[in-house]
């Protein structure tokens, strides 16, 4: 009787978790047609997982290389031929491999990494992987993708993903922490350009954003290996390559993203809502940004020139009396510059001192305005997901023909997005290069190294062109990363030798 009333222990076993969305899509063919949006079994969000907003390949205008309507077979063949030369002679295969592999010998970091290749017939091949750098190169030369994306490192070879019976056997486990900044997100505050267009004036927003994010990633989170890459048209990507960053789970990626996210809210409403006292990250960011605000925003963009924009500024002034005084003044000086208007705020606050004005409120409001006009605006989708794909460095932007080159963070002001090497430009440069140039370069090398001319290596093609400084920068970045990685391994081995075995009580349940 009692027997029947017994209840055994209530243990619940761990079961395999649901697979992440990236694998649940039934991509029956390795090659998924972008056009097949209507096919029910293909998850659109999966297909577009890697599309960052900077690429206009699918927009209908201004894109002779890829736009369907304008596609002309000859032009395309030419561009494929140029691209072939680029992949054969310029693309830094070796450093790309080292960058992703973190070691000279192929490891899982490279072998289990997903690449996705975008072909000229509008197909996307996801879950490609390569055991060596050379196989990667050969496959790219065979398929001639116009775009290469990099995804996460999986627990197993992505090509074998269908052979696993349980989803837990095939999981994304590491990827660089990425950020995406796109100037279209600044359209409400840039007056010089809009949409896909950029100029030196609005590029300054990108420069400010890089400074703020780069500083915080280093000082606050302790990351050291941050690669900034021009996305080829109107934005930049950051790749945080530290081992600890690569291992971040989605909830941590989400936390960092939110930590950086300050300018939110709808356009037209108040877009900055931050607590006081200011968090140290924000007060430091304002320190970084305030000179940019004066020079690159007030003087260069003149954001409140029109009375409509000035009204928006007035809405953010916390005191009614001050607001009215400013409105009156600006109405009597139409076309007053933003720099003067900004100065008016303090000037009138002093002279027409309003009894109700709290100086602290005014300071807060002014800080909010500075932040709204300078603080980085991130495309957060790119940063939050471990399995998000992102365009590889050094591919050619199909719209502009520019190479997606790394940006030296120590020379941000020297970076000119309108003057980076282009596919056509590189071809011209290499054709114009003569043996004489080579000899001169060799002589220079001898002079520098002081060695005899004989052990000077023959120049690689990229060294003969304007791509050289960018690849050199990348090479040194990769070398530093590999060195840190090697040291970490050595340290771990040392620690393991010293380690006293400790029984750690498991807290997972």
């Amino acid at each position: 009787m009692v027997e029947a009333g017994e209840v055994r222990g209530l243990e619940v076993s761990k079961q395999t978790p649901e697979p992440p969305t990236a694998q649940t899509a039934k991509d029956e063919d390795m090659c998924v047609e972008i056009k097949q949006e209507s096919k029910a079994e293909i998850k659109l969000e999966d297909l577009f997982a890697g599309i960052d907003s900077d690429d206009d390949e699918f927009s209908t205008s201004g894109n002779p290389l890829n736009s369907k309507e304008h596609r002309d077979d000859d032009a395309q063949n030419t561009s494929i031929e140029l691209l072939r030369i680029y992949y054969q002679r310029f693309f830094p295969w070796r450093y790309m491999f080292q960058w992703l592999n973190h070691s000279p010998v192929p490891t899982k970091d490279f072998k289990h990494r997903e690449f996705s290749l975008w072909l000229h017939n509008d197909a996307v091949m996801r879950y490609q992987s390569y055991t060596t750098s050379d196989l990667f190169r050969k496959d790219v030369l065979r398929l001639m993708p116009r775009r290469i994306e990099i995804g996460p490192v999986y627990t197993a070879d992505p090509r074998d993903r269908k052979t696993f019976r349980t989803a837990s056997a095939f999981q994304p486990m590491a990827k660089e922490l990425c950020f995406d900044i796109d100037l279209t997100d600044y359209d409400d505050i840039r007056t010089c350009c809009d949409k896909a267009n950029i100029c030196h004036k609005c590029w300054r927003f990108t420069t400010m954003a890089i400074k703020v994010i780069d500083t915080a990633l280093r000082e606050d989170f302790g990351y050291n290996h941050i690669l900034w890459v021009y996305s080829g048209r109107r934005g930049v990507h950051a790749w945080v390559c530290d081992k600890r960053a690569r291992a971040l789970k989605d909830n941590h990626r989400k936390a960092i993203t939110a930590y950086f996210e300050v300018v939110t809210g709808k356009q037209g409403g108040k877009r900055v809502n931050i607590r006081r006292p200011l968090h140290p990250h924000l007060s430091r960011s304002i320190d970084i940004l305030k000179d940019h605000f004066q020079r690159d925003v007030l003087e260069t963009q003149d954001p409140w020139k029109t009375s409509e924009k000035a009204d928006y500024l007035l809405q953010q002034i916390p005191d009614l009396k001050l607001r009215e005084a400013l409105r009156k003044k600006w109405e009597s000086f139409p076309g007053r510059t933003s720099a003067l208007k900004w100065a008016d705020i303090d000037a009138l606050a002093q002279t027409d001192a309003s009894a109700t004005l709290d100086p602290k409120d005014l300071l807060d409001a002014k800080q909010d305005i500075v932040i709204e006009h300078t603080y980085p605006r991130l495309d957060t989708a790119v940063s939050q997901k471990l399995n998000h794909l992102l365009k590889s460095p050094f591919v050619i932007h199909p719209g502009t023909g520019r190479v997606c080159v790394p940006i030296d963070r120590n020379n941000l002001d020297g970076f000119d997005p309108l003057n980076v090497p282009t596919l056509q430009g590189l071809i011209r440069e290499i054709e114009a290069w003569t043996e004489a140039d080579g000899a001169a370069a060799a002589m220079a090398a001898v002079e520098v190294s002081g060695s005899s001319g004989q052990d000077v290596k023959p120049l690689q093609d990229w060294e003969k062109t304007s791509l050289k400084p960018y690849i050199e920068y990348f090479r040194s970045f990769v070398t530093t990363l590999m060195k840190a990685e090697r040291e970490a391994v050595l340290k771990r081995e040392r620690d393991e030798d010293d380690e006293v075995p400790v029984k750690v009580e498991s807290l997972d349940f």
Binding site: F221, A255, P277, F509
Partner: protein
């Protein structure tokens, strides 16, 4: 040795054996607090199984009710003490009570039984994790400080105290985060960086504090004020419980092998729904009030904002979408509008459609809501209950073009302020208070604040003259309660004698 566990058996079912903890052993309970990391493995009787679960459920339901009523932590603790002593007592280790093991075993088992009962849907999982965390917090706060520290050490949370030297070095940065945590400032003396204990912890341990920029972060370490220790422990508790519930949910299908448990578990989870219903569905009208279709416009002065918004939208568009009709019909039923009157009300309100369309598309739904049609169960129970605030707040957030939901929760701050002004709430302090409440997600508070403002003089009089007791003026957590109280307060003169008589009778 162990008198409770009479029927412990050594032979495990082989199907379960493969899932069982390989370190199978009789649970020891060195601490009063429990993170419920290890499922129980010993056997108990079916009676114990059910009774323990019901006892815990009582406690959890009452805790949830406290939170719906926005009781302060101190009020909640006082309210819960007798219940906890009765149903789920837990003595300190230092008490050397004979019952320690039995108490802790019951706590341990009942938690895991309810886990099974509440793992099935996301809504139940979320609520369960929430109230279990409340229970844990209550016990954490009342735990002996030395025993608590010992317990926290076992959690392996990996934090390190910040030295005085480092505190001094980082004083400005730490000062800017110190007010973010612990209490609401309350206008008291600002806490000083050096007085505070600071813990240094890998930022990945406190992603929520980092995410909301509540802590200073340097070189990958988050600097957490000591009094946030509690929130870190609670976070860890919630997070681990949520993860475990997910696993339980996936494992549930495998438990149906024991079909003696299924009915008990189902019964338990149904009971957990109960405390939320809150308001009787019968909808007896207030005596003397004219609750008719043609008087609704007039009565709407007593409606809370959610129903005012529905009413105005209906008058403006001569239509409401599905959830709006449902929420509003149930409310009207709750104030005592009869089915016939309700049909009249909707027929005339939907002025742009034909009788035919109305009869085909809407009539049935109204009747169903009243329990006039539908399956046996629906008819026996008199249809649906009017929605409580909790239900309106948490279910079916309104989409574009929909007017249901709670304005305090689902409106933008600007729209909410506009609506409140339109309803006669122009007092700046009240509007600011509401903005503050909604920002901190205290939607009940906002609604009650508006209620108190709109009925300020009447409430004062009702209190002064003893017409209503404090209990009758408790926080409103149901739109129908809002209506009823508003109506009674505004009609005190007409009802005065009778109400007064009633109150006195109850003495």
């Amino acid at each position: 040795m162990n008198r409770i566990d009479v029927k412990r058996r050594n032979v495990l079912d082989h199907r379960k054996k493969q899932f069982a903890d390989p370190l199978y052993k009789e649970a020891q309970y060195p601490h009063r607090l429990n993170f419920y990391a290890t499922p129980p493995t010993a056997d108990i009787t079916l009676e114990q199984f059910e009774q323990w679960a019901i006892d815990r459920l009582r406690v959890l339901a009452e805790l949830e009710a406290c939170s719906f009523r926005n009781k302060t932590p101190a009020e909640t603790a006082a309210h819960m003490k007798p219940l906890l002593d009765k149903y789920l007592p837990l003595d300190a280790s230092s008490s050397a009570s004979q019952l320690l093991h039995a108490q802790r075993q019951k706590d341990h088992y009942s938690h895991f039984i309810l886990r099974l009962a509440f793992a099935s849907t996301e809504d139940l999982r979320r609520r369960f994790a929430r109230v279990e965390t409340m229970l844990f917090r209550l016990r954490f706060q009342t735990d002996d400080s030395r025993e608590r520290a010992a317990f926290v050490r076992t959690l392996n949370l990996d934090w390190e105290a910040v030295s005085d030297e480092e505190k001094r070095e980082l004083a400005p940065q730490l000062a800017s985060t110190i007010t973010f945590s612990g209490g609401h400032g309350g206008g008291k003396r600002a806490p000083q960086v050096l007085d505070e204990d600071w813990l240094k912890v890998d930022w990945m341990r406190v992603p929520d504090l980092v995410e909301s920029r509540r802590v200073y972060v340097r070189a990958g370490m988050a600097y957490v004020p000591g009094r946030e220790q509690q929130s870190m422990v609670l976070n860890a508790f919630t997070k681990r419980l949520e993860e475990a519930l997910e696993l339980t949910a996936r494992a549930l299908p495998r438990l149906d092998e024991d079909d003696r448990l299924t009915p008990i578990l189902n019964h338990l989870s149904k009971n957990f729904i109960a405390p939320d219903a809150g308001y009787s569905g019968s909808g007896a009208p207030i005596e003397g009030a004219e609750i008719t279709a043609r008087n609704i416009d007039n009565l709407s002065q007593h409606f809370p904002m959610c129903m005012t918004h529905l009413h105005r939208s209906l008058r403006r568009d001569a239509h409401l979408k599905h959830y709006g009709r449902l929420q509003y019909t149930l409310f009207l039923k709750g104030i005592g509008l009869s089915l016939e009157e309700c049909l009249v009300f909707w027929r005339s309100a939907f002025s742009r459609i034909t009788d035919d369309t109305f009869n085909k598309e809407y009539r049935y739904n109204v009747r169903h809501t009243y329990g006039d049609v539908g399956g046996d169960a629906n008819r026996r129970s008199g249809g649906y209950s009017p929605y409580s605030c909790q239900k309106i707040l948490t279910e079916h957030a309104p989409g574009p073009g929909e007017a249901h939901g709670c304005p305090y929760r689902h409106f933008s701050p600007e729209n909410l302020a506009t609506m409140l002004r339109a309803c006669g709430v122009t007092d700046r302090a009240v509007l600011e208070g509401v903005a503050e409440d909604t920002k901190s997600q205290k939607y009940h508070m906002a609604c009650n604040r508006v209620f108190e403002h709109l009925h300020k003089s009447e409430i004062k009089r009702a209190k002064d003259e003893g017409i209503m007791t404090a209990a009758q003026l408790e926080t409103i957590v149901h739109p129908n309660e809002y209506f009823k109280r508003s109506y009674l307060l505004k009609n005190m003169d007409g009802k005065l004698h009778k109400e007064k008589g009633d109150v006195k009778m109850e003495g």
